[in-house]
């Protein structure tokens, strides 16, 4: 079974802090994704990566950056956390690059609260 793990289930930070959310997958998947989930909005894509050291902006990249130094690990960085970044953050990975049959596997999520 594919396993996607996220470093924290719950996180509380203060406004202006630098925040790191870590995601690790154990299935040698090429692709990794970061989403945020807000009530009534579904999931929105923040950033994704099709290969090590590669990254592409999703639909809502403002205020976020990412890092992918190793294939299995994809980090989401909030350079200066703000209250409007309070949300549930979900990481996902998938095997096939740019394929209509690709299936994404999700981690359990990190619920971030910014005070």
């Amino acid at each position: 079974d594919v396993k996607v793990t996220q470093s924290s289930r719950y996180l509380v930070k203060r406004t202006g802090e630098k925040v790191f959310l870590e995601c690790v997958q154990d299935m040698d998947h090429e692709n990794m994704f970061w989403y945020r989930q807000d009530p009534g909005l579904g999931l929105r894509l923040i950033y994704f990566s099709y290969d090590v050291k590669m990254k592409e902006k999703g639909d809502i990249p403002e205020g976020y950056s990412v890092s992918r130094e190793k294939k299995e690990r994809f980090s989401l960085i909030l350079e200066s956390a703000s209250t409007n970044q309070t949300s549930m953050y979900l990481c996902a990975s998938s095997l096939l690059s740019r394929s209509s049959t690709d299936t994404q596997y999700f981690g359990p999520g990190t619920r971030l609260t910014v005070l």
Binding site: G40, L41, G42, L45, R98, S100, F106
Partner: protein, 112 residues
């Protein structure tokens, strides 16, 4: 651009009765469509996916969905609801860049 619309934000059924969660899509090409489920405090799990093979797609836990091009719909059904089906369900499409497009979600409540 492709979009996905879930027609109900909440659906409530009694245990043992059928489940219908509605999803419409808009796409100028043959879409890939998925249903994911999210149980409380859990990540999303794939229920089923349609990728232009059979129009009736069977998924896990007794769920199935039918792709109807004439109605631009991909509704999720289950003949008999179980208490463990209570969760949030997402209808998901895929855009031309192979990125997922999520509906806003439908929360399913199952009454005993």
């Amino acid at each position: 651009a492709q979009s996905v619309t879930q027609l109900d934000s909440h659906v409530s059924v009694s245990e043992g009765t059928p489940v219908l969660l509605r999803c419409n899509y808009s796409s100028s090409y043959s879409p890939s469509l998925f249903w994911y489920v999210q149980h409380p405090n859990k990540g999303l799990q794939l229920l089923l996916k349609y990728t232009s093979a059979a129009t009736l797609v069977k998924g896990i836990n007794g769920f199935e969905a039918e792709f109807k091009k004439s109605e631009t719909s991909f509704h999720l059904t289950k003949p008999s609801a179980h208490m463990s089906d209570a969760a949030e369900y997402f209808c998901v499409g895929m855009d031309s860049s192979y990125k997922l497009i999520f509906g806003s979600g439908t929360r399913l409540l199952v009454r005993p």
